[in-house]
């Protein structure tokens, strides 16, 4: 039993009304499964890889490359086999979350699809093209000031420096909503990192440079382990109730060099080894900065972590990303005097914080959550 169904332009946030098809990744006759990347679309500010939400065979591509397609408009037809009693296509992934998604607005345009568009007659020197790739500036959006309208390096750099109003606006709207709707409570806890860092350094000594791990990978895994133990921090709050999530998809705040931030999700962090977390983190940071994230990464985080790293402040209290119910903040690791077995010793500490939704949990659970993160970090070899 099979049925022909429409694959429609998905919405990657409440305020997205259309996207431009940059590229098909499938052709008629191809087998597709749920989660396969089928196309790349560009929204106002971001290029996003769109995942399929059904399994079957591509029957026909409807949308043409380069055209703007409204949300909900059929893009292709898929012959779906087996159980066809499921929800009508388009409903499942189209509204993964009722919230505006900050990430989809804030990603810079990707250089790769831009390059194909630019092949169609944009005049720019090789140097300007290189600079544009480096700065994530799409040449197609620039007006050249050089000879015969050619785009110069200066044009590219000017565009690279321009403030991203849309990104600021998206962050503003989401954070404003968070602070208006979510009663945050805040807890902080200093965690002794001396042993974990020594373990990490010894590990990094043994492996190739390209295999080294940074403390962030350990932090993320520890947070995921804690989220499994204290489930009230991991999930979403919608329709006046908290829904815990069965998966631990950690949103990772990635600051962009030109300002603003993206919060892509790393999936199933609790099931990954620290090394797998490290390579996922490295991959997602790289793609966030290039502006090539997947639709699901922008919509399905269940808990967010903001890690200021070495150059940051000692303590950070985050603002929850609705509809999530908590955000973990990790400051920089510093050496501090500590009482150890009756003596003062110098140890490495990180201050871990949680900002949590008081509608979903109480401070007692928040404290248990931080204690679980601490416990996990005391036994890094078990992570």
């Amino acid at each position: 039993m099979s049925e022909l169904r429409d694959f429609v332009m998905p919405s990657l946030g409440a305020d997205m009304d259309a996207g431009t098809l940059l590229e098909w990744r499938v052709k008629p006759g191809d087998r597709v499964s749920k989660g396969d990347i089928v196309a790349v679309i560009e929204t106002d500010k971001a290029a996003v890889e769109i995942e399929c939400f059904m399994t079957g065979a591509v029957e026909r591509l409807i949308a043409e490359k380069g055209t703007k397609i409204s949300v909900g408009t059929p893009m292709m037809q898929v012959r779906v086999e087996g159980d066809t009693s499921a929800k009508p296509v388009g409903q499942q992934v189209l509204q993964p979350t009722p919230t505006p998604v900050v990430a989809k607005e804030v990603a810079p345009p990707t250089p790769t699809p831009a390059a194909t568009i630019e092949a169609g007659g944009v005049r720019a020197s090789p140097a300007a093209k290189r600079r544009a790739r480096a700065l994530n500036v799409s040449l197609a959006t620039l007006k050249g000031s050089g000879q015969d309208g050619a785009i110069t390096i200066e044009d590219v750099e000017k565009a690279g420096r321009a403030p991203r109003r849309d990104m600021r606006g998206a962050i503003a709207a989401l954070m404003e909503r968070s602070k208006r709707e979510i009663p945050h409570y805040y807890l902080a806890h200093d965690i002794d990192m001396t042993n974990a860092l020594a373990w990490l350094e010894a590990l990094n000594e043994r492996v190739d440079v390209s295999e080294r791990m940074i403390p962030a990978a350990l932090f993320l895994k520890a947070v995921a382990v804690a989220a499994r133990a204290v489930t009230a921090m991991n999930g979403s709050y919608a329709g006046d109730r908290f829904e815990p999530s069965a998966n631990v998809h950690l949103g990772v705040a990635v600051s962009l060099r030109e300002g603003g931030l993206l919060v892509p999700a790393i999936h199933d962090v609790d099931k990954k080894t620290p090394r797998e977390v490290m390579s996922a983190l490295s991959d997602v940071v790289e793609r966030a900065r290039r502006g090539m994230l997947r639709g699901s990464e922008l919509t399905d985080a269940t808990l967010t972590v903001t890690n200021l790293g070495e150059a940051g402040a000692d303590t950070v209290y985050g603002v929850i990303f609705p509809p999530q119910v908590a955000i973990v903040g990790l400051g920089r690791v510093t050496e501090r005097p500590a009482a150890v077995e009756g003596k003062v010793a110098v140890r490495s500490f990180v201050t871990a914080t949680v900002a949590a939704d008081h509608r979903a949990s109480d401070g007692h659970l928040g404290a248990r959550f931080l204690a679980a993160i601490e416990r996990a970090l005391q036994a890094p070899e078990a992570l």
Binding site: L135, E201, E205, R257, G309, A311
Partner: protein
């Protein structure tokens, strides 16, 4: 010397394209001139390793404060290895 400097500057510019390589000062702390987090820094170290073969252990990161200190470190490491 100039080759090593160029390799380091290229590695940094790869990771932080907004900087102008020529604008980096040799003697001011790199951290004050370029915004590099630990992931960025690791990518710089990996790129320098690819180009020079020098494997910089983490405990030596603190010796790489300025561009000139970084160059001196790599010169020393290459001498020891050869």
């Amino acid at each position: 010397m100039n080759d090593l400097r160029r390799i380091i500057v290229e590695a940094i510019a790869d990771v932080a394209p907004e900087i102008e390589g020529s604008a980096l000062s040799d003697d001011a702390p790199l951290r004050d001139q370029v915004d590099l987090d630990s992931m960025d820094w690791l990518r710089v170290i990996v790129k320098v390793h690819e180009r020079t073969g020098v494997n910089i252990p983490e405990r030596d990161y603190r010796k790489l404060v300025t561009l000139s200190a970084f160059v001196t470190y790599l010169q020393g490491a290459q001498k020891t290895e050869s």
